[in-house]
C-alpha cells in the first residue's frame, strides 16, 4: 500500500479525514491498514453511494408489481403465473475507458452475476453506449473495442443481447459511457433474498481463484476522474473469463432450483469484503472469514488484497453445513472450484483470520450500511441561460429538406446500429420475439403466452440542456417504446452517469435529473427497483454530458399481440398520434444541420405521455395496429423512414400543420408515435384516441418504393436505406 507521496494512508486510499474519524468512532480505536483498506473500498463512492443516496431516496420505489426494490443485487417485479422478472443496470465506463474490450466484457459479467445472485436465469442483455465522434481514431478504437468486448463475453455465456442504444457526442470522447442491463427470470417464490440464513451457515466461495485483479478497482477507477496517463490504471482492469461465468450460471441455477442455497451474492466492487459484510449485515449477524481458505491465483497476496480483490467470475453462497456435500458436488460437476471461506455467527462483527490471527475486526453493518452520506453543494452551470435562449427553432432554414433528411438519417446517432448488434448473439435461448433495432425488445416467457418487453433510453443532449427534462424524457421515451410494442410498462432500473460530484454544477445536474426521473416515474406508474450511479466521468476538467439512462421492463400478456415498428401492409393509413410543436431545441436536426446544440428541449406533459401509453396498450390489446414506432431522435421524418425500412415499403404523406416543413419533420416533440392501421380499423382507433384525449392526425398511407412527403421531398426507399445503413460502417471502415 506504499504510495509515492508521504500522505497518510487513509488519504492515499481515498478516504477523507472526516471519514477516518467516523471509522475510529465505529471501531472505538484506530483502524489497522487492512481494516482501512476494507473501509476505503466499502465507503468509496461506487460502493456507498455517499454523494447520491440522499437524492436517490426521493425516487418512487413501490408499486403493485414490485417484489424486490432497491438495495439488492437486482430488483424484481411480478409478471404473473408465479414468475418474477429480475433486472438491473450498471455502468462499466471507467474500466472501458482504459481497456475497452475487457472493461465492457467484465461489465457484462458483473451485471449477469447480479441477476444470478437473485436466483434468476439471465435471459437478456441490453447495452446503452455513448462515445465521442467516430471521426476520431481513438473513439473508433473505443467503440469497436467495447462492442467486441460485449459480444465476446455475452455471446460465450449464452445470454442474448436484444437491445440497447448507441449515441455519439464530443463530451464522451475521453470518457465513453458503457452501461449494461441484464434481465432475468425466476419463479417468484424461489427468489434468493438471503434472509433465511442462520448463524452457522457457511460461506462458500464458488468459481475463479482470487488474484490481484482490480485491487482498489472501485476506489481507483470509479471514484476518481481519469487523468492523463490513465494507462497506469491498467492493473485495476479485470480480465473476464466468460466460460467460467457460463459454468457459474449453470451451477448456481442448479443449486437454486434444488433449494440448496440460503443466499447467494455476487463478488463485484470491493470483492469479498462487500459480499461477506452485506450478507451478514442484511441478517443482523456477524461473519468469520478465513483468508487461508481462499483459493489464490498468485503468491504472496496480502490480507487486504484478498479482501478487496475484484477477480471476476466468483460467487459467494450461504450454505447450511448439512447441505455442503450436495452443493460442492454440483460445483464439481460443472468443473468449478469451491471453498468454505467462513461462516455466519451471532453478533455483528466481521472478523477476518489469516494464519491463526485476527487481521481485521469491524462491525459488518458499519462497513455495509453505515457509510457516509453527503449533501454536496449544487448550483446550475454558468452560461446556461445563454445556451437555452439560443433556440434553433427560430433559426431561418432555407436548405433543401430532402438533403437535411438524408443528413439526419446518416448521422451516427440516428443511423442503423446493425454494425453493432450483428456482433451480438440475439437469438440464443430461443425466446427472442423481437431483437435489436426495434423500439423495445420482446422476450417470450416459455410455457406461457406472456412476453417481457424491455428497453433502455437516455437523452444526453436534452439532459445537458436541462437535466430535469432530460431525465424525465428518458423515462417517457422508455415507456413509449415499451407501449409501442403493445406492453404495459412495469418498472425501471437506472444508470446515472455524471461527472465529479464535487463540482457543484455536476451535483446540480444530478439532483435535477433525479427529480425529473422521480416525477416521470411517479406519473407513469413505473417505480425504480434499483440501479447504479456512475460519478467521476470526467478528465482534464471536462465532464461527460449528464446522462441519466433508464432501463424499463413491461409486460405483454399475449405475445401474439406484439406490435412491431415496420409497416405491415401497403394501403394502411399512416397516423401520427400526439402533437407536433415548434420544438427544435436539442434536436438531432439542430446539431447535424444547423450545428447547434442549444435551446430548450421539448416540453413534456406527463399526463399526455400517460394517455399515449394507455392508447398504445389498449390498441394493441384490440389488435388495431399494423405497426407502431415512437417519434424521438430525428423526429417524425426519421420515425416514418424507420417504419418504412423495417417494413420494406415506402409511404406517401403530407404534413397537415401550420409549421415550416423542417420543423414539422424534425421537431422532437414528446408523446408522439407513428402508427399504421388498416383502413377498416381506423375508425375504432380514432375513437379510442378521442376517448383518451390523444391528438390524432392521418398523414397518408403506406406502400410503394418511395419515401414521399407531399411538396417537401420524394426519395427512393432503397437509396435512403443505404444512407441509413451505410453511415456507421462507412465511419469505422466496414
Amino acid at each position: 500500500m506504499a504510495t509515492r507521496t508521504r500522505e497518510p494512508l487513509h488519504r492515499a486510499l481515498g478516504l477523507t479525514d472526516d471519514e477516518l474519524e467516523a471509522i475510529r468512532g465505529a471501531l472505538g480505536r484506530d483502524p489497522n491498514p487492512t481494516e482501512l483498506a476494507m473501509y476505503a473500498a466499502m465507503w468509496s463512492e461506487h460502493c456507498s453511494y455517499k454523494s447520491s443516496k440522499l437524492h436517490l431516496r426521493t425516487l418512487p420505489t413501490e408499486g403493485e408489481a414490485v417484489l424486490v426494490g432497491p438495495g439488492r443485487d437486482a430488483g424484481a417485479v411480478d409478471v404473473g403465473d408465479g414468475l418474477a422478472v429480475v433486472f438491473k443496470m450498471e455502468s462499466h465506463s471507467h474500466p472501458s475507458a482504459i481497456e475497452p474490450s475487457q472493461g465492457a466484457a467484465t461489465g457484462v459479467g458483473g451485471i449477469v452475476r447480479d441477476v444470478l445472485a437473485m436466483g434468476a436465469r439471465p435471459v437478456a442483455l441490453l447495452d446503452p453506449l455513448r462515445f465521442g465522434p467516430l471521426t476520431e481514431e481513438r473513439n473508433r478504437w473505443l467503440f469497436a473495442g467495447v462492442v467486441a468486448g460485449i459480444g465476446g463475453y455475452g455471446n460465450c455465456i449464452g445470454v442474448p443481447t436484444v437491445g440497447g442504444e448507441v449515441a455519439f457526442a464530443a463530451p464522451h470522447s475521453a470518457n465513453p459511457t458503457v452501461n449494461v442491463m441484464c434481465v432475468g427470470l425466476a419463479p417468484a417464490e424461489r427468489l434468493l433474498l438471503g434472509h433465511r440464513a442462520e448463524p452457522g451457515a457457511l460461506l462458500l466461495l464458488i468459481g475463479a481463484a482470487t488474484g490481484r485483479d482490480g485491487i482498489g478497482g472501485v476506489s481507483v477507477l470509479a471514484s476518481r476522474t481519469l487523468e492523463e496517463g490513465a494507462e497506469e490504471s491498467r492493473p485495476s482492469v479485470q480480465i473476464g473469463d466468460p466460460f467460467a461465468e457460463k459454468l457459474l450460471i449453470e451451477a448456481c441455477l442448479e443449486l437454486a432450483d434444488r433449494g440448496l442455497l440460503e443466499g447467494l451474492q455476487d463478488l463485484g466492487g470491493a470483492g469479498l469484503t462487500c459480499a461477506a459484510s452485506e450478507s451478514a449485515s442484511r441478517l443482523g449477524l456477524g461473519v468469520e472469514l478465513e483468508l487461508d481458505a481462499v483459493p489464490l491465483r498468485e503468491e504472496g497476496m496480502e490480507p487486504f488484497e484478498i479482501l478487496t480483490s475484484e477477480s471476476q467470475e466468483r460467487m459467494l453462497a450461504l450454505v447450511r453445513p448439512e447441505r455442503l456435500g450436495e452443493v460442492r458436488a454440483v460445483c464439481e460437476r460443472w468443473g468449478l472450484a469451491s471453498a468454505v471461506v467462513g461462516r455466519l455467527v451471532e453478533g455483528g462483527a466481521m472478523r477476518v483470520w489469516r494464519a491463526g490471527a485476527v487481521v481485521a475486526e469491524v462491525p459488518a453493518r458499519s462497513l455495509a450500511d453505515e457509510g457516509p452520506a453527503y449533501d454536496r453543494p449544487a448550483g446550475p452551470p454558468e452560461g446556461r441561460a445563454e445556451v437555452l435562449a439560443d433556440d434553433p427553432t427560430f433559426v431561418a432554414f432555407d436548405g433543401d429538406p430532402g438533403e437535411a433528411f438524408l443528413a439526419v438519417l446518416g448521422s451516427p446517432n440516428v443511423a442503423s446500429k446493425r454494425w453493432v448488434y450483428e456482433q451480438y448473439d440475439q437469438l440464443v435461448q430461443g425466446r427472442t420475439l423481437q431483437g435489436p433495432g426495434a423500439d423495445a425488445a420482446a422476450i417470450r416467457i416459455e410455457g406461457t403466452l406472456r412476453a417481457i418487453v424491455c428497453t433502455t433510453d437516455g437523452k444526453g443532449r436534452f439532459a445537458w440542456l436541462d437535466p430535469y427534462l432530460g431525465a424525465a424524457h428518458s423515462v417517457a421515451e422508455a415507456a413509449r417504446n415499451v407501449a409501442c410494442a403493445g406492453a404495459r410498462p412495469l418498472a425501471v432500473t437506472n444508470c446515472l452517469n455524471f461527472g465529479s460530484p464535487e463540482e457543484p454544477a455536476v451535483m446540480w445536474a444530478f439532483r435535477e435529473a433525479v427529480r425529473g426521473m422521480g416525477d416521470a416515474c411517479r406519473a407513469l406508474g413505473t417505480p425504480v427497483t434499483g440501479g447504479n450511479v456512475s460519478f467521476y466521468n470526467a478528465s482534464g476538467g471536462r465532464a461527460i454530458w449528464p446522462t441519466p439512462v433508464v432501463g424499463m421492463v413491461g409486460l405483454l400478456p399475449d405475445h401474439r399481440l406484439l406490435v412491431r415498428p415496420g409497416f405491415r401492409e401497403p394501403g394502411h393509413l399512416v397516423v401520427l398520434l400526439g402533437e407536433t410543436l415548434p420544438e427544435l431545441g436539442g434536436s438531432e436536426f439542430a446539431e447535424v444541420v444547423l450545428g447547434k446544440v442549444s435551446g430548450r428541449p421539448p416540453a413534456l406533459d406527463l399526463e399526455r405521455e400517460r394517455a399515449l401509453v394507455e392508447l398504445l396498450v389498449e390498441a394493441a390489446r384490440a389488435d388495431l395496429l399494423g405497426s407502431a414506432h415512437d417519434c424521438s431522435d430525428g423526429g417524425l421524418a426519421v420515425a416514418l423512414a424507420e417504419s418504412a425500412f423495417a417494413g420494406g415499403m415506402g409511404f406517401a404523406v403530407s404534413l397537415p400543420w401550420d409549421l415550416p416543413a423542417h420543423v414539422a419533420l424534425f421537431a422532437e416533440s414528446a408523446s408522439r408515435a407513428v402508427v399504421s392501421v388498416a383502413p377498416e380499423r381506423a375508425e375504432e382507433l380514432e375513437a379510442l384516441a378521442a376517448r383518451l384525449g390523444v391528438p390524432w392526425a392521418v398523414l397518408g398511407e403506406t406502400g410503394g418504393p418511395l419515401l414521399a412527403v407531399d411538396g417537401v421531398f420524394e426519395l427512393d426507399l432503397e437509396a435512403a436505406r443505404d444512407v441509413w445503413e451505410g453511415a456507421i460502417p462507412g465511419l469505422v471502415g466496414g
Binding site: 460465450c156 449464452g158 466460460f243 467460467a244 457460463k246 456482433q423 448473439d425 425466446r431 466496414g734
Partner: protein, 236 residues
C-alpha cells in the same frame, strides 16, 4: 413406423449454449429430445445425435479442439461409423471437423467480427442427413451466429470436397444466387454445410434450431431438422 417418435440426443458440453434450443426444436417437430452429457459413456440408445452450438470448453485454444476428446465423442464416432445420423451445428460442426469426422475446418470470419444475422442457404444435395426431404436448389432462411465460421480446407482438399459432392448447403441470396455479399463469413465456395462420404454426418454453421418456431421468425430450419428426424425414424 414403429409407433414411436425418433429419439434425438443433444450433447451438452459445459460451454454449450444452444443445447436447450436444439432439444426444444426436436420436440417442436415431434421428436423426442434426449439430453446427453459430455462425460456420458454412452448415447442412451438414441436414433440421432446433435452436437449443439456454443463454446464447448470455452474454446480458448481453438473452437472444438478440446471437445473432440470428450468421453462422449468416442461413442459419437462409433455411432457415426455404424451409419447413425450425426448433426453438428455451429460449434458442433467445428467439433466434427476437429474430430476428423468431417473434412475441412472453420477459421475466423474474414471480417474478424462475430456475426449474428439471418441468411439464405441453397440446398446442394439431397443425399445428407438434413436434406433428405429437400430438393437441390431450394433456398432456406436461417440465422448464423459465430465468430469462427469461415469454412476452409487445405488446397486440394476443397476440390475433392466439391468433386465428391460433399457440400450440403451454400450461402446465397434470396433467389439462390451466389455472391460474396451473401456470405456472412467468407467461406471457401460459400460453403455453409458439408457431409461425410456416407452422408450420415453433417455439419452446418447456420442454426436450424432457431428457425422452426414461426413466432420467433422464419422457419427455414424446419425441413432441415425434419429430414434429420426422418432419417432417425428410418432407424427405429
Amino acid at each position: 413406423m414403429a409407433g414411436r417418435s425418433p429419439r434425438v440426443g443433444v450433447v451438452t458440453f459445459p460451454g454449450s449454449l444452444d443445447d436447450r434450443d436444439a432439444l426444444r426444436a426436436v420436440r417442436f417437430l415431434g421428436g423426442e429430445g434426449v439430453p446427453l452429457w459430455h462425460a456420458d459413456p454412452d448415447l442412451g440408445g438414441v436414433d440421432a445425435v446433435i452436437l449443439p452450438g456454443g463454446f464447448s470448453y470455452g474454446d480458448y485454444l481453438r473452437t472444438g479442439a478440446i471437445a473432440r476428446f470428450a468421453p462422449v465423442m468416442e461413442e459419437v464416432r462409433r455411432f457415426a461409423e455404424r451409419g447413425g445420423p450425426v448433426l453438428g451445428i455451429c460449434n458442433g460442426f467445428q467439433i466434427l471437423c476437429e474430430a476428423g469426422l468431417l473434412p475441412g475446418a472453420l477459421a475466423r470470419n474474414v471480417s474478424l467480427r462475430f456475426v449474428c444475422r439471418w441468411v439464405h442457404v441453397r440446398v446442394e444435395t439431397a443425399a445428407s442427413a438434413i436434406t433428405g426431404e429437400l430438393v437441390p436448389g431450394e433456398v432456406l432462411e436461417v440465422p448464423v451466429k459465430h465468430g469462427e465460421g469461415r469454412y476452409v480446407a487445405a488446397p486440394g482438399d476443397l476440390e475433392r470436397i466439391e468433386a465428391e459432392g460433399l457440400v450440403v448447403l451454400r450461402y446465397c441470396g434470396p433467389g439462390g444466387e451466389l455472391d460474396d455479399r451473401f456470405d456472412p463469413n467468407g467461406s471457401a465456395g460459400h460453403v455453409a454445410a458439408v457431409r461425410n462420404e456416407a452422408g450420415n454426418v453433417v455439419g452446418l454453421m447456420p442454426h436450424p434450431e432457431h428457425a422452426v418456431d414461426p413466432d420467433l421468425g422464419p422457419t427455414g430450419g424446419q425441413p432441415l431438422l425434419a429430414s434429420l428426424l426422418g432419417r432417425a425414424l428410418a432407424r427405429v
